[in-house]
């Protein structure tokens, strides 16, 4: 699984950080999302999917790596 984020869309509500803190964090200066692990391991797929699902700004994009 590959995770990308669209910083322009992110509204910094932090839902992703709550659900998958191993994968997402927020920038110090403006609270916008940063990715800690762009290719999270198998066991983090479920929380990462959930984070993408609750992201209010549709800023998290998931894709499968072949």
């Amino acid at each position: 699984m590959k995770v990308t984020v669209d910083e322009d869309k992110c509204c910094g509500a932090g839902q992703c950080v709550l659900i998958a803190p191993e994968v997402f964090d927020q920038r110090e200066d403006d609270g916008i999302v940063i990715i800690l692990d762009a290719e999270p391991p198998e066991q983090l797929r479920v929380p990462v999917r959930e984070a993408a699902g609750v992201c209010p700004a549709a800023a998290i994009v998931l894709s499968e790596i072949a």
Binding site: G12, A13, G14, I19, Q26, D30, G31, P56
Partner: protein, 474 residues
């Protein structure tokens, strides 16, 4: 199952379809969006505007074009530009770092309550001061002014306030914030308003924008969080099995999920999310035309059985974190990490420190907020036994009510007066309900909500909040 009539009315609409036309006070006929999936889709849609000054915006009361309270009523890119200036202090980790300070505030307020007279109004003594003290600290606003800004923010969210009254209240707050900005410019501190003055100096932010933002931040988290504390406590007292679970747990995860579930179940922002379509939008087989208003009834969205099985049941163990109590889309609550922190601390502290907490009056005497855009209770008289274990053992031998003989007469009278004054707001209080309330409740989650027409738990009144008549044919 006893479900409030307001919920039933909205549910009937929800079952008919995701969108229905409704008629507002001004004769306009916006769409009422009742299903979770469509609400989320529309709130996240950039073709949907939150700008109250656009024609077609379904306002809940007459508006004056210039009454904008900062970015909550703006669209991107302006909204994002302003919101990003104040997002950092609400980031998860920054807020988490406030936990000890917020815990201290909560503990001290409980100390004061325990040391003071009984019964006490939980709203005044606890529910309002918690968010107030916290946001004052963060913003750098003197807490001693809280009467002033609480009164004004009440006017702003009051449904029946005239546009003039609302404008005046906003004006007072903006003037107040403007003065504070002066003080911060002269001697900056370690707070959010001081950070904003730095942006005024660099020209990123105008003085007016900064003051409006200050107003938004000052008022957005007050009534909301306070109502969640008081109404949440009432809901738990009415669901003693859930209260016991929460009070007796050592599992922090259960506290976290209880907060999400209470946010979902109570959904206090009863006016819905209001928007207007910028372009034609096709959704769920309907065509929303550019310029048409949209009201996302997030409270019934939070009770959409497709998203939350057995939705009328309060179940603090369920996974409810996909609720829309904080809205959805780019306007989703900025303060949600802070609100969560406050509620987690409150719900995990109050009932543990006062395990015998109970209502000091009958449910039907409690004045519910039917006249504002944020639902809750005006006051919640509570009392408790000081020494829980002994008192519990002695309770059956005491004549009913004797434990309240230590009331200070003045205190009791105060409640009576206030209640009398507000009685008009408690509509159609039902006789004899308190007798049922005093009986042990049946086991099992469902069916414990009282029908609560008029007064009651969430969704009890105003089936369409601000909507004056039922659906019309379109």
């Amino acid at each position: 199952m006893n479900v409030p009539s307001g919920v039933l009315a909205l549910r009937a609409k929800q079952q008919e379809g995701p969108l229905a036309r409704v008629r507002l006070w001004d004769g306009s006929t916006p769409w009422l969006v009742t299903r979770y999936a469509e609400q989320r889709a529309l709130l996240a849609d950039p073709r949907v505007s939150a700008d109250i000054s656009r024609p077609g915006y379904p306002s809940s009361a007459p508006v004056n074009g210039s009454s904008t309270v900062s970015f909550i009523l703006m669209d991107d890119p302006e909204h994002a530009r302003l919101r990003r200036m104040v997002t950092a202090p609400f980031a998860i980790k920054r807020v988490e770092a406030l936990r000890p300070a917020v815990q201290k505030i909560v503990d001290e307020l409980i100390d004061d309550m325990l040391a003071g007279p009984k019964p006490v109004d939980l709203v005044e003594a606890f529910a309002l001061p918690v968010p107030s003290l916290v946001i004052c600290e963060l913003l750098g606003v003197p807490y001693s002014d809280h009467d002033f800004f609480q009164d004004n923010s009440k006017t702003i969210i009051k449904r029946d306030a005239s546009p003039e009254q609302r404008m005046a209240a906003l004006g007072h707050l903006a003037g107040y914030l403007d003065n504070l900005l002066d003080e911060k410019l002269a001697s900056p501190g370690d707070d959010m308003l001081s950070r904003l003055t730095e942006r005024i100096k660099t020209g990123e932010l105008s003085r007016r924008e900064a003051a409006q933002m200050g107003v938004l931040l000052l008022i957005a988290g007050h009534e909301t969080t306070a109502n969640m504390i008081a109404l949440g406590t009432l809901a738990l007292l009415e669901n003693p099995d859930q209260l016991a679970l929460l009070r007796d747990t050592d599992d922090e995860k259960l506290v976290v999920s209880a907060v999400e579930e209470l946010l979902r179940y109570l959904h206090i922002t009863h006016n819905g999310r209001r928007r207007v379509a910028l372009e034609d939008i096709e959704i769920a087989g309907q065509l929303i035309r550019a310029g048409e208003g949209l009201i996302m009834a997030n409270d019934i969205g939070n009770r959409d059985p497709d998203a939350f099985p057995d939705p009328d049941r309060l179940d603090i163990r369920r996974d409810a974190r996909h609720h829309v109590a904080f809205g959805f889309g780019v306007h989703q609550c900025l303060g949600q990490p802070l609100a969560r922190l406050e509620l987690q601390i409150v719900y995990s502290t109050l009932y543990r420190r006062i395990p015998t907490l109970r209502l000091a009056t009958d449910l039907e005497q409690i004045p519910f907020k039917h006249d504002g855009s944020v639902y809750g209770v005006y006051e919640l008289p509570v009392t408790w036994w000081l020494f829980p274990r002994t008192a519990d053992r002695q309770r059956p031998r005491q004549p009913r009510g004797s434990h309240e003989s230590d009331h200070r007469p003045g205190q009791v009278r105060r409640f009576r007066t206030v209640r009398g004054r507000r009685r008009g707001r408690v509509r159609s209080a039902r006789r004899g309900r308190h007798r049922r309330a005093a009986q042990p409740r049946p086991a099992g989650g469902a069916g414990r909500r009282r029908p609560a027409r008029g007064g009651g738990l969430p969704g009890a009144g105003h089936p369409h909040r601000g909507v004056t008549s039922g659906p019309i044919q379109s």
